[in-house]
Subunit: 144 residues, 4 copies
């Protein structure tokens, strides 16, 4: 991991609240491991609009999309039916054409870490599907 | 439909608020038609605990489950990414071993009907998987 | 064009084979009721390309899409983890701007009916999202 | 038993064939990134029964389950609607109470790598939910 050893100026952490839906549950009465990935994406979409000031729809309108390049998830405690939980995310690294977003998913009550990890998202032009360097104004919005 | 034409004594309607998640979206940028079914189930689970005084977990603990026997959905306006919506449900009919639950799913703002319909749920014993007549105390809880 | 009252010459039934995936399973060890809807859609997409001679992608290329207008499902026997099953579909009625597709989902071995029902699909122009009358050439392809 | 430092005689790679389902597709017309995780699980369940001689159901019957401890996915080329693909998996490492399974998901035609990565699965007793050391007979079955 290329995270520099020097202190970063502290990028903001944002938190969204969600709730387990019935179809998320697997045969072990737990949230199926694939769903945590979508919980992170749901939180990011919420936070893009609410915290970073540029919604996913705003990206789409100017012809950009975010594709997932890699994901890494570590499962600690399974969420269960009907549980409320929080998803906290923050930008840990800027790459040339994307960002690495770290996340922590915590059961709400009692508060316990359920899953943590990171996702690399790449900015692409939707008409070509190709990665593009992050524009300055987007870096500025995301550097909070 | 066997709903009598005379006014019913007015079974209560309960409403839950949910939000579209990214994985709900299909290739037409709409919520995939299958997801409305799970939205209804999520609302019922919420309302069982919050409004009827007997959570799904409480049913499970005494050895009962609810299996879906039939579902009927009419799609009016597609929900889209990130939209908030409400799911209103009520018991329209009691059957010998189950209930017919009607529902309305409405986009929150501006308020528009997205999907309506009904589901028949059958009460089963989890150890046998067989339908059982609705116990009196459950009918009483559900007859509000 | 509504369904004629005279006996039809028997529109063709086509069958696709699929298999339950782990994430389809719910907390009762059964396929979650919402998944049958997607099984039907998967079968239709397969059969559009393989049996009707016009793939979903071919519709998309000429600016058409199929939106779901209504669905009706009756659950008989739940499918379980890893089971193979067949989805048989046929066009039961032609409507002015769509078709009613009936389906039967059967567990493969031993062969048992798992779920049956129908879906109304409406043909829409993708640029406007509005329903369009079925073009003659599409009716011809579908009238087999 | 930790991974030995000496070269292994090459643990077997097994391959399953699957097909994209409509609900797998996201708003970018690609398979949603979370679905690759379930594709790997579907392939493992197939291969457990067909290649390793011990099905998931056989584990369940003797009171064991496999929980996901970590997953790591790298996305190369998105799969699309209706595409057929293969999932090749193999055990890369034995841990004290689980295995690390590597995987490659490839589009079938033309053959291209779509996603690769690994998952750590832990063996648990279903009655306690706790990890257990891998029994010798299971190691033997898996060491092929």
């Amino acid at each position: 991991m290329s995270e520099p050893p020097t202190p970063r100026p502290g990028r903001s952490r944002f938190t969204s609240e969600l709730q387990v839906r019935p179809d998320d549950i697997d045969m072990n009465q737990h949230v199926h491991a694939s769903r945590y990935f979508d919980y992170v994406l749901a939180a990011r979409y919420d936070q893009m609009a609410r915290c970073y000031g540029m919604s996913m729809e705003a990206f789409t309108e100017i012809g950009y999309g975010w594709f997932t390049k890699a994901s890494h998830l570590e499962y600690k405690r399974a969420l269960r039916l009907g549980e409320r939980f929080t998803v906290t995310t923050w930008i840990e690294e800027f790459h040339k054409d994307g960002v690495r977003v770290h996340f922590e998913i915590c059961r709400a009550d009692p508060r316990k870490l359920a899953c943590s990890g990171w996702c690399d998202y790449t900015l692409v032009r939707l008409d070509t599907g190709r990665a593009v360097p992050l524009p300055e104004d987007i870096v500025a919005k995301y550097a909070i």
